[in-house]
Amino acid sequence: MGNPAILLKDLDISYGSTKVVRDVNLSVAEGESFALVGESGSGKSTVLKAIAGLAPDWTGQISVLGQPRGHGPDSGFAKTCQMVFQDPYGSLHPRKVVDAVLREPLKVHGLGNRDARIAEVLNAVGLDQRFRFRFPHQLSGGQRQRVAIARALMLEPKVMLLDEPTSALDVSVQAEILNLLKRLRAEQGLTYLMVTHNLPVVSFMCDRMAVMNKGEIVEIADAKQLHSGDFSHDYTRELYAASGAEAV
């Protein structure tokens, strides 16, 4: 007990010879919903990838639920932490039906009772059973993102990494997915680390946020501060103003 769900210490991440993230220190408590905010190129997605094991070139320390992370994906880690990607069109195999996508994690980990589990998780993400044997091209963007969330939930992880899960979706669909993510977190006691550039989404979904600029965290703030716009760092204030804080 008392272990943070995600702990990052002096994390530096490089792609080739360029350092894209410098000196990141972060601690996300269990059950918390935490946002990484910034513009493109700020390194926010890279941090997520490093935790997931998809950006292996890092130094420092990453631990998830008290377990230090290795530099690549491993199958034990898969059961504690999963990720949902930004692009609902690119994150599903174009030649596999929904059922096969959801069955894959169960096969990899040799889990039984597959049909019942798939039916259950489809239910949890609000997808009707009739979508179960459709190909991705027969689904809308929102439905695909539900399938991607269902796949991540399949192994019953405790920590979810969300990489702009709604930025490719229409606003009305975004609302559905955000509601879904919020409900799942409450029901299953999940911890979220969510990357986004959309401050109102943070205000709806998250408890705390870290603002990143040019590979560094410039400010860690409470999501409540979005109501007042009371930030200490210039860059955060700039971002806040640009996000249309005064509109409507």
């Binding site: 229409d170 975004q174 559905e176 509601n179 959309n198 109102p200 979005l226 109501h227 971002l239 509109a247």
Partner: protein, 280 residues
């Protein structure tokens, strides 16, 4: 310019695509009359908003088909024009800015050359005049070092700068109407504002007409005079931008409510009930 004669007049515009199960209409009888004003077309993906923009320029690709009872620009019926006349019109009098500058700029030509091409296609000018206009235009879109940027290739500039270059390219022949299809959705929020402010300023200065196509209601409300909300190929509501919050149609209201707010206090976001107006 008289206020009575509209710049663009569209009646009963229809766009359809054939599918194995028969033609599917993506724009179903759209009427539109535009003066020298700023009109926003808002809708979700699949609402037909982009197809409307393309149809006005007669840019619907085969096998898509468009028909209209009237499609007149500045009093000239566009449907009867030859492809050649249409090409002269595009760019010179009506310009279109696309979503992603990366796909609209030629990667193997310098920026200056491409902007100059856009100008030379429509006006006969000496080389020196062309060069001067290009530099002037790059300055107008707030590029700090226009001489140097003109020598660069598209991959050497950032997304925001690329989109400003696109704007320069589209505005240099001094068109009367600018159609901007999601001009900023590929850009960061801080750059989005700058680019839209720039379009806005140039449009007002030159007294152009603007059609801004976007999925973002609030953004359109900020930069347009009038808003047209589209859903499933039809216009569900037209209103003045300042009256957006008084919108009547349940679809518009639903869209507005579904956007998370900066000062969010709702536990659950309201979700559109699509069955209400027979939507898809």
């Amino acid at each position: 310019m008289t206020a009575t004669k509209p710049l663009l007049d569209v009646e009963n515009l229809r766009v359809s695509f054939p599918t194995p199960t028969g033609p599917v209409e993506v724009v179903k009888g759209l009427n539109l009359s535009l003066g020298r004003e700023r009109l926003g077309i808002v809708g979700e993906s699949g609402s037909g908003k982009s197809m409307t923009g393309r149809a006005i320029l007669r840019l619907i690709r085969k096998p898509g088909k468009m028909t209209a009872d009237r499609l007149a620009f500045d009093g000239v019926e566009l449907q009867g024009l030859s492809e050649r006349k249409m090409r002269d019109l595009r760019g010179a009098r009506i310009s279109m800015i696309m979503q992603d500058p990366k796909f609209s700029l030629n990667p193997v030509m310098t920026i200056g050359y491409q902007i100059a091409e856009a100008l030379k296609a429509h006006e006969n000018l000496s080389r020196r005049d062309v060069q001067a206009r290009v530099i002037e235009m790059l300055q107008a879109v707030r590029i700090n070092d226009p001489e140097q940027v003109a020598q660069m290739y598209p991959h050497q500039v950032s997304g925001g700068m690329g989109q400003r270059i696109m704007i320069a390219m589209m505005l240099i022949p001094r068109p009367d109407l600018l159609i901007a299809d999601e001009p900023t959705s590929a850009l960061d929020v801080s750059v989005q504002g700058q680019v839209l402010d720039l379009i806005d300023e140039l449009v007002r200065e030159k007294g152009m007409g603007l059609i801004l196509i976007s999925h973002d209601l609030n953004l359109v409300a900020r930069y347009c005079d009038r808003i047209m909300v589209m859903h499933a190929g039809q216009v569900v509501e037209t209103c003045a931008a300042k009256d957006l919050h008084k919108a009547q149609h349940p679809y518009t209201r639903g869209l507005l409510a579904a956007v998370p707010q900066m000062k969010e206090t709702r536990e659950v976001l309201p979700v559109l009930d699509r069955s209400q107006w027979g939507g898809t």
